[in-house]
């Protein structure tokens, strides 16, 4: 399976994603510079975390207009697997591939810490190796992860079971206190209606190896491989 990691000026988790795909998943991977206009030959795309364009104006806004984006959007519309992590999630929102928008964390502070995530849907290419309602520990590191959408969109997300991860306490309760940024309905990650595009604020690539304190993130990325190879369905 061949992954593409899209690199925007200011991306800074690109090398981390590359490392995990290559060294931990053992799959093929290449960088895709944002000025390219084709994603031919890739089976899955990763929009990595970081501060594309310095996060100036709005997080992800300038990157969402990059030359690579039309090809990426077409790839997604044809059913290709796309995962946006942190800044990647923000870019997917700005590009309209996922509904909603990001606001500043309610604390107004950048927050870097491990959080608990409840797995809300396992019938996606990103969670097929996980259990429903399983609680994962995955790090976050962001200043704008306060997911917002209006009530209609929220209802739709719930109706279509597009909410994939929520912030929760250790027991899986989606409490206000467990929410690190004020996001609506404790949302940490969502998929599109077709379920092939995931955006999530936490960083699975930061917890894919035991030396970094945990492997819960590994299963998210490994799910993509299993799904692609037909082992999940």
């Amino acid at each position: 399976m061949r992954f593409g990691v899209v690199v925007f000026p200011g991306s800074n988790c690109d090398a981390d994603c590359y490392h995990v795909v290559k060294e931990v998943l053992g799959e093929e991977v290449d960088y895709i510079w944002h000025r390219e206009t084709s994603v031919a030959g890739f089976d899955a795309l990763i929009l990595p975390g970081g501060f594309s364009y310095g996060d100036y104006l709005r997080t992800g806004a300038i990157a969402s207009l990059s030359p690579i984006m039309p090809a990426l959007i077409e790839f997604a519309q044809k059913g290709g697997l796309v995962i946006g992590i942190c800044n990647g999630f923000q870019i997917l929102l700005e590009a309209g591939l996922l509904p909603g928008a990001m606001l500043k964390n309610d604390s107004l502070q950048f927050r870097c810490l491990p959080v608990n995530l409840r797995v809300k849907a396992i019938d996606t290419p990103f969670t097929c190796l996980l259990q429903e309602d399983q609680v994962l520990t995955v790090p976050i590191a962001h200043g704008e992860g306060n997911y917002f959408c209006d009530d209609e969109v929220l209802e739709e997300l719930q109706r279509n079971r597009q909410i994939v991860f929520t912030y929760c306490d250790r027991e899986g309760n989606e409490t206000r206190k467990a929410n690190p940024n004020g996001s609506k309905a404790n949302i940490a990650g969502i998929v599109n209606r077709e379920r092939n595009v995931l955006g999530m604020m936490p960083h699975p690539e930061r917890c894919a190896e035991t030396i970094l304190g945990g492997r819960d993130g590994y299963y998210i990325l490994a799910s993509m491989v299993n799904w692609f190879k037909g082992a999940c369905r």
Partner: protein
Amino acid sequence: MKDKPVWREMGLTDEEYAQIRNILGREPNYLELGMFAVMWSEHCGYKNSRPVLKLFPTSGPRVIQGPGENAGVVDIGDNQALVFKIESHNHPSAVEPYQGAATGVGGIVRDIFTMGARPIAILDSLRFGPIEDERVRYLFSGVVSGIGGYGNCLGIPTVAGEVYFEESYQGNPLVNAMCVGLANIDDIALAVAGEIGSPLMVVGAKTGRDGIHGATFASEELSEESADKRPSVQVGDPFMEKLLIEACLEIIREDLVFGMQDLGAAGLTSAVAEMAGKGDRGVEIDVLLVPRREEGMTPYEVMLSESQERMLICPKPGKEDRIREIFDKWGLDAAVIGRVTGDGIFRVKEGDQVAGEVPVAGLTKMCPVYYRQAEEPDYYREKKAFDPMSLPEPEDYNLALKQLLASPNIANKEWVYTQYDYQVMINTAIVPGKADAAVMRVKGHKKGVALTADGNGRMVFLDPFRGGMLAVCEAAQNLACTGAKPLALTNCLNFGNPEKPHVFWQFEQAVKGMAAAAKELEIPVVSGNVSFYNETNGEAIYPTPVVGMVGLIDDIEKRTDMAFKNDDDLILLIGG
């Protein structure tokens, strides 16, 4: 009109002015005088500290580069090296905490990638007045978010540091930032100018009027008027710096440059002079070729601007086009601003006009050196006579313990480090809060590196010699506790006004103490920074040397953090 001659306004003494006249054999013009003033400031010239700094042991089997370059370099095996340095940004942070701290991070990170190393970690050592004070809280939160705001955006983890609150830092907080880089030994680049005729290029941000005379600002005491020195504060652009890191490392990997130098304190003047000085070259630059952000800038302003996020590059012959291509890929402009010459003269032109002409050596090697007078202060003898046993025993030990734990100096620092991305680059194997040093893996190897920054101003105040020793020992112990062998250290010496004999005594004693410990433990000093004039209204801070140290763990699987692991494990106390 002015009651002071212009050189004194610029921070030069009458004798220094006479020396400059001697060097030139004539009166300097305003530009030339400005160039001397910044280069001969304490910040750039180390004129009050150089003789004392010679006391440090600086060599060892693993030292590849000791003090004198942008950063120190130590061998960690497998053709790899750690490149690291610590630096202060105290005064800018006192005036504008967010931008002051942010640009402090930006500056120290540039020192590291200038050397051809990929920055892999940032550490921060912070000191403020008592946290109950409203202004202190403003400074503290501004500094922390400034460090985070800049470092997080660069994608370099901030992995360790320290925070203290003490009366003595009320008006003059200390903000020291350290950066550690990892390099292939073959890729290490030094700040040297190339062959005669080689072009010099500037790349990165455009030059503006910001920060003119920042170097002299850093070498002055803070006073009520400092608030009016505000234009000295710059706004950082971490996004630009991130692009610079990637582009500069790319041109080094392709071996396209002779030398590279970041533009920091004293801007172009210092960068050009230092680069030329190392190769005994001269240099001719045209200020009209320097890309500017503002109209109507004078040669003086261009030469002394401290606009951030700029680099000076000396390309190898025929490599300019490839360099331009790489910079263009990253959306950066590179401009040729002049050439290396063989005459040892630093010539500044504005088009056809010569705006200034000074010998490079005059700015660098001939910077005056002062042997200040040291005098043991009275307080030292008084405090030494104090008998701790004269303190009453606490009536309630539980209460005493709780009070200790509630002290802001001992309390958990989570509020600080959770604002820093300490995990990006996925190397942090011991994260902040889990041990007294951070441990980073080196991808593809069994080994790991441990990093720490420590200091204790109160101890140094009470006994500068032993306090200096202690700073080195504490850092070494912090590393050892994670399973690392200490390799080398960098240091930031934060002191008051060295022209005061008791401050100079503190300085000299502390350095002697640090040097003694470094020798004994065989941990050489490979880089450092001196920050004098940390005073408010005549009152000096506690003498505060901060030690940044790196160590090596042969097998990272054997690293240890401080958590108790299993029931029934033994607890031993050693040393003491």
